[in-house]
Assembly symmetry: C2
Homo-oligomer: 288 residues x 2
């Protein structure tokens, strides 16, 4: 079993981004974060992303809105960010409060600033396999992890567990595209006999958002397992009262795998790194 | 074995479209066809679509361009059609000559007139599961065939063979979406051990463009098989010198199936019917 070190690979990506950012001086790529409410996980994610932006020499700004913000108010501010030429990328931290229609909010971001890759244009271009599409950061991070760990994908059977717009669907599109060339199965909450489906996978992408949902009986020996899950489970031994586990029952599954990502330290840091890469690309394109 | 009668189901759809078109009077939905060159299959498809448009009370126009048309010339004419308020839908008949970048040409059609559903906006909205997306006509026809034949999809394992932008990918997106809720596998030319993958399918969508490629050893008894293929094979007994066969080896496969579509008379007429439905929807939306 080989542990895929997401922290180390993310550092490689970030070092490359930092070097490219330095060459742009005096232009500084600028990512604007938008956070609604005070969900503790969202606060922690945005803080981490801001910190990383600073480390690679980018500007990061943060707009906070109360949980009660209306769609119209939020759109008003997104339109201002879209119109602001000093902002190259806009990231709206999910999840949003239930009264805000998430996809519609994502679609309000200008396609050229959609560094999160959730808008119609980004998704459409990804499926069309057109160059220059912003791929959603987490799936893009998964692909980058595979490439930089030397995992061959062509002809392999990838099973993506989860059909979210944020991970499952774009991950499936990327794995299917020319260059990756996987046979791709997308399984989800309505899938019958999930275990037997996942057990066929040469490559498992676990993105269902349920702690330790992927158990050892679902894994074919020699599979590569990429765990996208970031779930908080109660843990009285921790100061915070919780700890982070993935969607995969790591301890039982890991010995069977050819390679596996840990949680934390797997996909998570790659998501942040790919956001920086997307913001840099957005800046370069907007500067023409 | 039950034969799914695409001609009969297409007639149902067309009768509904015709009734809705009549209610719009004096407005007449107008679809503009664009054909480049004289590929015999393209000539025949466009003729069929024009004829059907007339039958349901729609206006159809046809713009012909020589094989040598440049991208710039074609774009100039597409822009004019986009700007023409009397045109509600635009269909560019594929395939295009090799010097024209197909996806880029499709993307030149205004999203609100993209009745073929191949543009970035249409594909993106389809994957986002937003209402009002134009689904590509052939995959939309497949879903309509399944619904109107009473084939249950939820939880079933659908295997789509083929990953084209025109059929495979949008078919996978539709089958995966809420409402259909299939587990979806997309297999293609790079898939290893295709037979064992397809043999798992409760629902096979054959869209690989190779005559009789799906053989009896690939089919699970009781499967539903939808054959999207329209292939010309030489046949000296025919006046034309050829006949049309699907991607499925129908004679051998049919006895094993719960239900199957013939070729011709299966998906083909549904593609034309869904184009009429999309054009009607486009007209209604543009009239506000």
């Amino acid at each position: 079993m080989r542990l895929i070190d997401g922290n180390a690979i993310a550092q490689q990506v970030l070092a490359e981004v930092k070097a490219r950012v330095a060459l742009l001086s005096p232009v500084i790529p600028h990512v604007a974060f938008v956070r609604v409410g005070d969900d503790p996980a969202s606060v922690s994610y945005v803080t981490k992303k801001q910190k990383t932006a600073a480390e690679v020499g980018m500007q990061a700004s943060l707009q906070l809105f109360p949980e009660t913000v209306t769609k119209e108010e939020l759109f008003h501010h997104l339109d201002a960010l879209n119109a602001d030429a000093s902002v190259h990328g806009i990231l709206i931290q999910a999840p949003l409060p239930k009264h805000l229609p998430e996809t519609e909010v994502f679609n309000r971001v200008s396609p050229e600033k959609d560094v999160d890759g959730f808008g119609t244009q980004s998704i459409g271009r990804l499926v069309q396999e057109l160059p220059g599409a912003f791929a959603a950061c987490t799936p893009a991070g998964v692909i980058e992890l595979l490439r930089r760990s030397g995992v061959e994908t062509a002809g392999k059977h990838a099973v993506v567990v989860g059909r979210s717009l944020i991970v499952g669907k774009p991950a499936a599109a990327l794995l299917l595209a020319k260059g990756c060339d996987c046979t791709v199965t997308i399984a989800h909450s309505r899938t019958r006999d999930l275990a037997s489906i996942v057990r066929q996978a040469d490559l498992v992408i676990a993105a269902i958002g349920k702690p330790r949902f992927i158990t050892v009986d679902m894994i074919k020996p020699g599979a590569v397992v990429i765990d996208v899950g970031i779930n908080r489970v109660p843990d009285a031994t921790k100061k915070t009262g919780y700890r982070i586990v993935g969607d995969v029952d790591f301890d039982a599954v890991a010995p069977l795998c050819e390679a596996i990502t840990p949680v934390p330290g797997g996909v998570g840091p790659m998501t942040v790194a790919m956001l920086m890469k997307n913001t840099l690309d957005a800046c370069v394109r907007q500067r023409g």
